[in-house]
């Protein structure tokens, strides 16, 4: 899946989970520069992404992610392996 489409879809998921309808997500977005992206919200985001794309993350994979761009890359790897 194209990374720009993925970013757009993730933006929709983030807006819903974080209750920020105007949130603009970029590849550089991370928990430090997105308001209310705390640990519980993070679990909710990961869960929503797993459901949306029918993929599973390992804890180690998630711990290596620095930002949304890394998440997009990981999702693409997971989707390609399906």
């Amino acid at each position: 899946m194209d990374s720009n489409i993925l970013l757009e879809e993730l933006q929709s998921i983030f807006r819903d989970i974080l209750d920020q309808p105007d949130l603009v997500l970029t590849r550089g977005s991370n928990a430090n520069n997105v308001e209310d992206w705390d640990s519980l919200a993070h679990i909710n985001l990961v869960t929503a992404i797993e459901k949306r794309y029918k993929i599973k993350f390992a804890l180690g994979e998630l711990q290596e992610l620095k930002d949304v761009g890394d998440m997009i890359d990981l999702i693409q790897v997971k989707l390609a392996a399906k």
Binding site: I43, V46, T47, E50, F57, A58, L59, L62
Partner: protein
Amino acid sequence: MNEYRWSDIHLGLKHEFEATFSAEDANAFAALSGDVNPLHVDEAYAIDAGFPGPVLFGMLTSSLYSRLAGVYLPGKYALLQGIDLDFSSPVHAGDVLHVAGEVVFMNEAYERFEIKATIRKADRKLVSKAMIRVGFHGK
């Protein structure tokens, strides 16, 4: 009380139980929550509004979802993280409520699972349905 840990949880794991609330329970809930809406505590008002008696608070009957997670699924080590809840029909004091929940999603990375749960009356009429997100404490 169950003492399930993450390794005990699997898709399809179920639990169910029954419960009943009294008018005294509703009054106690009104006092605790401060929700003194007459539909829930004033019989004459509720009848005038078209109900056979005071309607039990939705949040009171929904407290059974807390019991489902905290006592049964997974029980002792539960850490309730969220509930999406919809109400479908009113409940009155004395109604027997049947609570049922089933594990429908597991997040391996963060060891959190989701329970699809319902509360139904004795005639199987749906009272409410919920998606409950539960993790663990005390690992």
